[in-house]
């Protein structure tokens, strides 16, 4: 299984390298096919990985349930190889490792990444007309980086991949983006880089103080989490570290006041860039919270994290929705809807109970699927009409019935219609938050209505009503605008299937991620009498932490 994981990392990298090596205008056709073959191979391997992981976790589950002493982070499969031992002469060296592993959450995110990358390759088939091989190389290298983030179980290795994803995405936006691409790409790059450097400070503090305390391999996340469960930092230090870590993650998510780079980056990015940015890259922020903040800094999560995430999440939901409501550019609308949806995700994660965190993780996956699909469709009609403005378009359902059906379908998923994937995630997130702070949950729930409002308004204007097509679009050419082609269908259908599957039977997915989530939420459920009700445990009683020696 671990060798499969290495293949998952190597195949896209090798394919990307191959494309870079033979970068040249004449090989545009073969570049696409190489990229498609590579990404499909990765998808197949990731599905097989998911299947194997399910088998493994079924056989393993009982053993894990009673492992109360085990770490809050429990990868089921691990590969460890020393990378750099700092301070060889010192008594407590800091050992950086190539520590790859898999748990339920990472498997789910890896499959999501692979799925969206295939869609990205297909959607770029005709819309990318220059420097094709470099484009696909960047796409595949980005995929490597993303998969790397999700399977890294070494704190610094996680950070390495986290940072590395900036580079290919920068090129994707800056070379193949819209008219303002350069500004957008630079802003995106510098903003997120500045945030993640502060995150690095927090990370180094976490690792360094565990190393100074005597932990043997302080970079390994499972060991680090176990260490901080047994020897928590003092509450004030936890707060400092939490805020440092959060600086990068909040920008990446992005949570309300730090979201300003996102609409710009989305609007300027090529469709494939938008899909991966919204679908996977934003999740790196929430994933970071899940991997680092929640298990390591329980007191700070309760004292700072909950109010911060709840308030900013709710504000993000309402503000993002309202912004989406007034956008005339459909792509910008979808971008703002991301801000709102990730607000739900934050609410769920910082409910800090099993329902909420499960919901938050589900929401990460769901938002990837539905927003990814939304961006795909927006890209499709932009390709046809060269406009995305609501005012220029209307009644497209008459002209493009299949595409309209697809748009309605993914919009419904995004709105959270029961039976589609958005529903379980949002419900669980809100239910979890309701247990912790009913008020925030109630406020957040308003986002459901707002979400329906802006998406349905957009649908109504763009796809229904009298037909309105821009003059300078493809209608001016000889051939009429055609409905979804087989290739575009190929990019959408797998996502639609996943949407339906999660919507109808979310249980297998929940079962896959629940053990990992519960391992973390156990931290927050340890009442004084071992009670399990989270809502009754007050922060002070649970974590009357004394300063570490």
């Amino acid at each position: 299984m671990i060798s499969l994981l290495f293949l998952l990392l190597l195949v896209p990298l090798a394919a990307g390298g191959l494309l870079l090596l033979f970068a040249g205008a004449s090989q545009a056709r073969s570049a696409r096919w190489i990229a498609l073959a590579g990404s499909i191979a990765v998808l197949a391997m990731s599905l097989s990985l998911g299947g194997q992981y399910r088998q493994l976790s079924l056989s393993f589950d009982r053993g894990r349930a009673d492992a109360a002493a085990a770490s809050p982070i429990r990868p089921q499969v691990e590969y460890r190889k020393p990378w750099l031992t700092l301070g060889g002469a010192a008594e407590q060296p800091v050992i950086l490792e190539f520590h790859f592993g898999l748990d339920g959450v990472s498997v789910a995110m890896i499959v999501l990444t692979a799925l969206l990358t295939v869609a990205c390759v297909l959607i770029s088939w005709e819309s990318i007309r220059e420097r094709e091989s470099e484009f696909y190389a960047a796409l595949l290298i980005l995929e490597t980086g993303l998969i790397g983030v999700f399977c890294a179980f070494d704190a610094l290795l996680f950070y390495v991949f986290f940072e590395f994803t900036l580079i290919p995405l920068f090129f994707l936006i800056a070379i193949w983006g819209g008219p303002q691409r350069r500004y957008a790409a630079v802003k995106f790059f510098l903003y997120t880089l500045a945030g993640s450097l502060v995150t690095l400070l927090g990370l180094v503090t976490l690792v360094g103080s565990a190393a100074a305390g005597g932990l043997e391999s302080p970079c390994s996340l499972p060991q680090l989490a176990a260490w901080y469960r047994d020897n928590p930092l003092s509450p004030s230090w936890q707060m400092v570290v939490f805020l440092a870590l959060a600086a990068g993650f909040l920008i990446k998510v992005p949570v309300f006041p730090f979201h300003t780079w996102l609409p710009l980056a989305h609007v300027e990015a090529p469709t494939a860039g938008s899909v991966l940015l919204a679908g996977v890259l934003l999740k790196l922020g929430t994933y970071g919270f899940l991997r680092l903040c929640l298990p390591m800094l329980p007191a700070a999560c309760l004292s700072v994290g909950v109010p911060m995430a709840a308030v900013l999440g709710v504000v993000g939901i309402v503000y993002g929705s309202l912004c989406a409501l007034v956008q005339r550019d459909v792509k910008k609308l979808v971008a703002y809807s991301s801000v709102a949806h990730l607000g739900f995700c934050m609410l769920g994660l910082f409910a800090l109970n099993s329902e909420g965190v499960t919901g938050g993780v589900l929401q990460m996956i769901n938002h990837g699927l539905s927003t990814g699909a939304l961006f795909l469709i927006v890209g499709m009609f932009y390709e046809r009409y060269h406009t995305r403005l609501v005012d220029d378009l209307g009644g497209l359902a008459n002209r493009l019935p299949l595409m309209a059906a697809g748009m309605v379908f993914v919009s419904m998923a995004s709105v959270g219609l029961p039976g589609l994937n958005g529903f379980p995630g949002e419900m669980l997130s809100l239910a979890g938050m309701f247990k912790r702070h009913p008020l925030y949950a109630a406020a957040g729930a308003s986002g459901l209505i707002l979400g329906a409002w802006y998406l349905l308004t957009m649908l109504q204007y763009v796809f229904f009503g009298p037909l309105k097509e821009p003059v300078h679009g493809a209608s001016a050419h000889s051939h009429p605008v055609r409905d979804i082609s087989l290739r575009e269908l190929g990019s959408l259908v797998p996502i639609a299937v996943a949407i339906l599957w999660i919507g109808l039977t979310p249980q297998p997915l929940i079962d896959m991620i629940r053990p990992d989530v519960e391992a973390i939420t156990q931290l927050y459920a340890r009442g004084p009498d071992g009670g399990e009700s989270v809502a009754q445990v007050s922060p002070d009683r649970t974590f009357a932490t004394e300063p570490r020696p």
Partner: protein, 500 residues
């Protein structure tokens, strides 16, 4: 007399690599003029042979270095400890790249002198690390400086070049005088020129002549900060870098820094033993001074680099900023557990050297007489004209930014760890300003990358022919940064073997 001869005999095997280099220098200087006609003409392609001879000499020196003893011998004029071993390896490896980078920068008739000066500079750098005596140390510093003046002047490319050389020469002599003054005070305070002797004297009687020692410390720091181009002694760097060729700039961005930091590592423990040895709550004055220098150097270097249009000027300010990063390691010192600041500094020196020399070598490779790489706009469209060069250059620039997957990331991470885990207020401030500055520097490196990849090439520019050898050398450097990121352990171990 016999004892003197015995001493020389005993010392020869300690400095064998340097002897090989210096003998080659003599051969080049002596035979070079005979191969040039009176009119100053030489066989076309002669320069390639001189480069080959340099590479052979470096290879022999490297062979001798590999076999040289690592265990410290404190007795005579030379001391071959782990620091010497590390610096020798580094300069010889990077010296090979430099030799190749110079290939087309100096014409055939002056190639012998150029290569000879370069080898002399390498030998001098090594000797700085090996010196166990103030006199030898000063002579080694001069063995670096004097050939540098010649080397900068050899291409003779107009007024800018002349101005740069003159400026560098005058200020360098001035700084040497300051260093010499500091050394004489140190001699006055302790009565010996042997570094080991001074250390023993200081340890024996720490309070003795403290005013003299402090003045010596200030003077030595000022003089050596000129070499590493730390603020406020940085002002010559942009002008000089602008005036000289890419290969010379490559040399200037690495060798003086290596020399300066190695000399500081040798001398600072002597002038203020307490500054490096203990890390009590009370910060020694010298350490505070170093911290101020580090923060100022990082910040001013990066801020001034933001506005530069000329490539060499930009990289000059970037080299100033990188001196600041390395000063962080020096400030934190070896006392910080678990990560020693000195080891982090040495690791960063290697990572920085490979990256920056790679950049200049790539620029030298992409430069031709029709299309010189002077300003940012000359980089426009490089990714179309020479995609491989652009890619290698981008990797190196990301390396200077400190992004994975490059050795620059690992280096910055080590410095970060060292500063943060020092556990002092000062260390934390340094770590935070390091993070802040890394973010600022990303701005201008990213701008260069954007120009290369986003802007179309200039209309009239027919794709200029690559100068292959420097380009390949630069590409090797950029590959090395990535490899060093993946497998950094051996270099770290080599750097961590030295603890003052």
């Amino acid at each position: 007399m016999t004892s003197a001869i015995d001493q020389i005999n005993a010392a020869v095997h300690l400095v064998a690599p340097e002897l090989i280099l210096v003998i080659t220098v003599c051969v080049m200087f002596v035979t070079g003029p005979f191969l040039v006609t009176e009119a100053g003409l030489a066989t076309p392609g002669l320069r390639k042979r001189w480069v080959a001879l340099s590479l052979v000499a470096i290879a022999f020196a490297a062979y001798a270095w590999w076999g040289a003893p690592v265990e410290p011998s404190d007795a005579g004029m030379f001391r071959t400890d782990a620091l010497a071993w590390y610096v020798r390896g580094l300069t010889l490896a990077l010296g090979a790249v430099l030799a190749v980078a110079f290939i087309d920068q100096i014409d055939d008739s002056h190639a012998a002198e150029g290569q000879a000066c370069m080898l002399a500079i390498l030998a001098g750098t090594n000797l700085v690390a090996i010196a166990n005596d103030l006199v030898v140390l000063f002579l080694s510093l001069e063995l670096v400086s004097i050939p540098t003046y010649v080397l900068l002047y050899l291409p003779r490319r107009g007024d800018a070049n002349r101005e740069a050389t003159a400026k560098y020469m005058l200020l360098s002599i001035f700084s040497s005088a300051i260093v010499l003054y500091g050394m004489s005070l140190l001699y006055g305070a302790t009565g010996t020129t042997s570094l080991a002797g001074i250390a023993a004297a200081q340890a024996h009687d720490p309070g003795a002549a403290s005013l003299l020692t402090r003045m010596a410390a200030a003077l030595l720091l000022a003089g050596l900060c000129f070499r590493i181009a730390a603020v406020p002694f940085h002002f010559y760097a942009p002008d000089v870098f602008q005036g000289v060729s890419s290969a010379a700039a490559a040399m200037l961005s690495f060798v003086p820094k290596a020399v300066g930091f190695v000399a500081l590592l040798r001398l600072l423990p002597l002038v203020d033993g307490a500054a490096v040895a203990d890390s009590a709550a009370q910060e020694p004055a010298l350490r505070v001074l170093l911290a101020v220098l580090a923060v100022a150097t990082m910040l001013i270097g990066n801020l001034l680099a933001l506005r530069q249009q000329h490539l060499h000027r930009l990289l000059a300010y970037s080299s100033v900023a990188h001196a600041g990063y390395m000063l962080v390691g020096l400030t934190v010192g070896p006392g910080s557990a678990p990560v020693s600041g000195v080891s982090a500094l040495l690791f960063y020196l290697a990572a920085y050297g490979i990256t920056t020399i790679g950049i200049f070598a790539l620029l030298a490779g992409a430069t031709s007489s029709q299309s010189p790489m002077r300003t940012q706009t000359d980089l426009a469209g490089l990714s179309r004209l020479h995609p491989a060069v652009a890619l290698a250059l981008a990797i190196c620039l990301f390396g200077l930014t400190g992004l994975p997957p490059t050795a620059g990331f690992t280096g910055k991470l080590n410095l970060f760890f060292a500063a943060w885990s020092a556990g002092t207020q000062l260390g934390r401030i340094l770590a935070i300003s390091l993070a802040l500055n890394a973010a600022i520097s990303a701005w201008y490196y990213l701008r260069l990358i954007a120009v290369m990849f986003l802007e179309p090439p200039a209309e009239e520019a027919a794709p200029a022919k690559l100068c292959l050898a420097p380009a390949v050398a630069g590409a090797v450097c950029s590959a090395a940064t990535v490899l060093l990121f993946v497998a950094p352990q051996w270099l770290w171990d080599a750097a961590a073997r030295f603890s003052p």
